[in-house]
Subunit: 334 residues, 2 copies
């Protein structure tokens, strides 16, 4: 069973995955794993290579775990956390730990091996966002879980271990540190001003304009004022809403269009960079913070080699001002 352990000083939880324990020789940072030539477990026809699907959008007459799907969600074959079991929280002197209970799922975005997320049609992109939403609604009902983390690694340098485009979802019995910090920050601001800081940010960015990449009726895409990474890009809903999964259908359509345009601009403007995106949303059943938390996407192209220094200090040096990044991306034709 993996363990969740808490750093006693700053309260950060980490997963210690002792079942897949690695010895020193198992680590090889310099070799980027290429896709196995000729075989991909995520391609149509290879459904039996993944655990059975938990959700799929399929042709009317196709059978589960066979071909004929447009999108599949399957449990991760090598999950960081295990779905069965109880948390068994315990202390060990000054330390806290619990069983690594959670869900770890893979959203296979298309049966086509060569289609990156930026290449998906508007309908396919909407399917992906809809799959996130459906899985979130389902997993929210499990009382052991506190947070559902949706993210995507594109490219080996950004941590993708398989080439075929996919997103991941991890349901966690804890709220990850950065989410907790964001909520605390938005709460402090609200206590001072009685306004949501993200709503204030949207107003100021719209007024200033220099950091805007794209905009439509419902969403604003910006390079944030104090970005950790060059060309870091956020997608913010213009209407205050704490939870992604309660987004109505029409907003999902609008979001899929603007996410698609943003990814195309990044791919074209930065020569198809590796990237990560992370959905920031309110924790499960966290109604008390809903007046000031505001869900959004953060997209981080992997253009620089960020190492232990940045992780160790939380201190970032960025050589591209967000105003220049936004201007560059604004001028790229999708």
């Amino acid at each position: 069973m993996p363990q969740l352990r808490k750093d006693p000083i700053i309260g950060r939880w980490v997963i210690i995955s002792i079942e897949r324990s690695k010895r020193p020789r198992d680590y090889n940072i310099s070799s980027i794993r290429k896709s196995d030539e000729g075989f991909c477990p995520f391609c149509a026809g290879n459904e039996s290579s993944t655990p059975p699907e938990v959700l799929a959008y399929r042709e009317p007459n196709s059978s589960p775990n066979g071909p004929g799907w447009r999108l599949r969600v399957v449990p991760n074959k090598f999950p960081a956390l295990k779905i069965e079991g109880t948390l068994d929280r315990e202390g060990e002197g000054i330390y806290d730990l619990m069983n690594g209970v959670g869900a770890h799922e893979v959203i296979i975005e298309s049966p086509n091996h060569d289609k990156a997320m930026a290449d998906l049609s508007p309908e396919e992109m909407e399917n992906v966002l809809n799959a996130y939403r459906e899985r979130m609604h389902d997993l929210k009902r499990d009382i052991r879980f506190r947070y559902i983390l949706v993210f995507k690694n594109h490219g080996a340098v950004a941590g993708a271990s398989l080439e075929h485009s996919h997103s991941q979802l991890i349901a966690l019995p804890i709220v990850p540190r950065n989410v907790a910090e964001e909520i605390e920050g938005t709460r402090n601001y609200y206590q001072l001003k009685e306004r949501c800081i993200f709503c204030d940010m949207i107003r100021q960015e719209t007024r200033e304009g220099s950091r805007i990449v794209l905009e439509n009726e419902n969403f604003l895409v910006i390079c944030p004022f104090a970005p950790r990474f060059p060309f870091e890009t956020w997608i913010l809903p213009k209407t205050h809403k704490p939870n992604f999964e309660t987004l109505p259908k029409e907003d999902l359509t609008s979001l899929s269009r603007i996410l698609s345009r943003t990814l195309k601009k990044l791919a074209k403007g930065l020569n198809n960079p590796p990237y990560n995106f992370i959905l920031h949303t309110n924790p499960i059943n966290n109604d008390k913070d809903s007046s000031f938390y505001h869900w959004h996407f953060e997209i981080m192209p992997t253009l620089t080699r960020v190492a232990g220094f940045e992780w160790g200090t939380g201190f970032y040096i960025n050589h591209t001002a967000p105003e220049n990044a936004a201007e560059h991306l604004r001028n790229i034709e999708e």
Copy 2:
């Protein structure tokens, strides 16, 4: 002038280095910069390739900025922050910024190009630690600075841009985020228990033994209970002291020995891995937190490809339990 900008939500400061502004084509993640064959600005004889030294340990009759040195400290030729100027703190709507004023220095640990830090003699290692201390004492007197960050990147993958072994020092007008969090964590613990959490940790680790790598009279080397990275290793002084730079001479000797042994174990046990180390010490003139902050070193070998996901969530998955890592390192003969 570089700018220091503050994220309004979580309060993280970043350096936006607009003078060395990079355009998309300037980023190239996949090419690791090799050392220029045949020329190294840090080698003996090439002193004129660096800015003039601010500190050097030299042979009695040698001249500044010429050969005959055992260790040199020079300003970084491409500093992240500028030493001249005032902070000019200002607001821009909801955002805060100030001039990127600071010092950015390089500690060239040896005139010998091929000597890694793990290969330094005990005397050379002590010189390095002593140089950290001397520079910290000097820079502390500048009232613009709040924190002095000492760190080392070893190996290109860990962010070293030059092969010749060196450490870096950045004096900052702000306290970096992770230091501020650590201080807050130790303060909360102290308020609850009236004890330093690091002192408690040392007691518990000594009693349990399973995470101990090395120990001498004054220092304990452990793999911490909830490590972000495989084989992450901390060096803790057994005696409570908030500030590194007030370390007496005899402790410096003892520290240089145990740091040397730790680096040798990592090099031998993990096949000379890239690594980062960071000196965690109390901010400048922060006397109010001195009962509960406890300086230490954190060493993080770069064995895994950690990408935006971890940066974005603050959530880490580690496939080597610290008990296994410590056992492996304990059994390596230096």
